[in-house]
Amino acid sequence: MPEMPDLPKVEEFAGPIYMALILLEIFLITGKRAKGLYETRDASVSVAMGLGSAVVPLLVGGAFLAGIYAILFWFYQFAPFKWEFTIWAFLACFLLDDLRYYWSHRFSHTIRWGWANHVIHHSSQHYNLSTALRQPWFSFTTGLFVLKIPLVLLGFHPAMIAFAGSVNLLYQFFIHTETVGRLHPWIEAVFNTPSHHRVHHGRNPRYLDANYAGVLIIWDRLFGTFVPENDSEPVRYGIIKSLGTFNPLRVATHEYLAIGQDMTRRGLTLKQRLAYVFAPPGWSHDGSRKGSRALKAEFVKKHPELAGQPGLPSLDIESGQMADATSSLGAGEITRNTSPVQGTNS
């Protein structure tokens, strides 16, 4: 077992940096020196959600967290080679953990159980540095920690993986802003930037299900989910069915409640009940709801001249895609950003 150094605790020094930069952004925006919008209640809820994301897991998820680390350490013993804590090992770990983050994030958008947790982060219509702190409270329940097991089996110490994850989240704080336009083309080509991440928070049809990257945008380019920001179509942030509350408890739990309501409906088969939990967000047994694919297809029907552009299907394959999506579960398809409670509102 390699000797473990005292790794910096990112969360301990990050708080003051976050707050200083949020205040700076507020002054720049209200002084008309930068683009962006703040609103008192929205920003307060965002930061309160950040506090909740730190406190709730410790208060109610301590056993879960301990269990997760116990499982990771259990797998670690089977690693044929164990990396020492060197800078090269950390860089390798960081790179692979960023790939892990891409898939974890993508699953959080395409599996409703994950979305119920992650929707918190997308629930504001505002997009500024405070939005970065609007973090989920129940990440320990998603089960997506299993994606860390391959890294552990490759010989990376669980503490090194946790540290890489912390640095990844620290980086992502800085890209939740409208104050920065586009960076140098080389940076935009390789890294996740404010421009790329604005797209990820968009609810315009063309921007749905795009740009899942943590630090490196290359994963989106590699796996076909990259969509560039289009200057002719400003990003509308948030989720398709916007929340009508600033209550942090409602923000944190509304999608879990919706899952509970859906899966306990009368007359459903077991498969349908399970699909309400694990199918893409917004799936419904009767096909009555619309999701990102349907919304994109609908948009393209109204704007055929835009078909085939990044983030939008082409007209000729649209019907085939829809057929595939609906046949797998026997009903309507839907992906992110659609509230399953009352179907679509768009």
């Binding site: 301990e12 708080g15 507020i26 609103e39 920003a43 309160a48 505002h126 509350t245 509304h254």
Partner: protein, 143 residues
């Protein structure tokens, strides 16, 4: 003081400070609809296939209700921070409604949108829209 307690104290202080600064800088006002046309435009942005017949803007210009052509529900648009939120409301979406003078308060069944109130220009207008909502009165329609 433990690191956990420090985090909580720091966060509460930060939220309070940020909220105070934002409020003092005038960022608490939220969205205001300039007129009825602006409210309709905000609603149609979310529901582009709908057609609005009649609209009533609240006194504070932050909420508007509208009747929709050929649809058995009412349109609602209201301020949510600096942005807007649009809904289609049918009687079955409403848990309870309370009418007082010129104000109509609604408790909704949607957990993520539990309640709102709208103050109309007159008691007559308030009663009329409450009637529309409960389908006690048929909306005027141009369709």
């Amino acid at each position: 003081m433990t690191a956990f307690q420090l985090l909580v104290v720091f966060s509460v202080f930060s939220i309070s400070l940020m909220a105070f600064i934002l409020h003092r800088l005038g960022q608490s006002s939220g969205h205001i609809f300039d007129n009825e046309a602006a409210a309709i435009s905000a609603f149609l942005e979310e529901f582009p296939d709908s057609a609005v017949d009649e609209v009533a803007l609240s006194v504070d210009q932050r909420t508007a209700m509208m009747t929709l052509a050929n649809e058995p529900c009412l349109g609602l648009v209201r301020a949510m921070g600096k942005f807007t939120l649009a809904r289609k409301l049918a009687p079955e979406d409403i848990r309870a409604s309370h009418l007082r003078d010129t104000e109509l308060r609604l408790a909704l069944k949607d957990f993520a949108d539990p309640s709102f109130s709208i103050k109309f220009q007159s008691e007559e207008l308030t009663r009329r829209w409450s009637g529309y909502l409960n389908r006690q009165e048929e909306p005027k329609t141009n369709a």
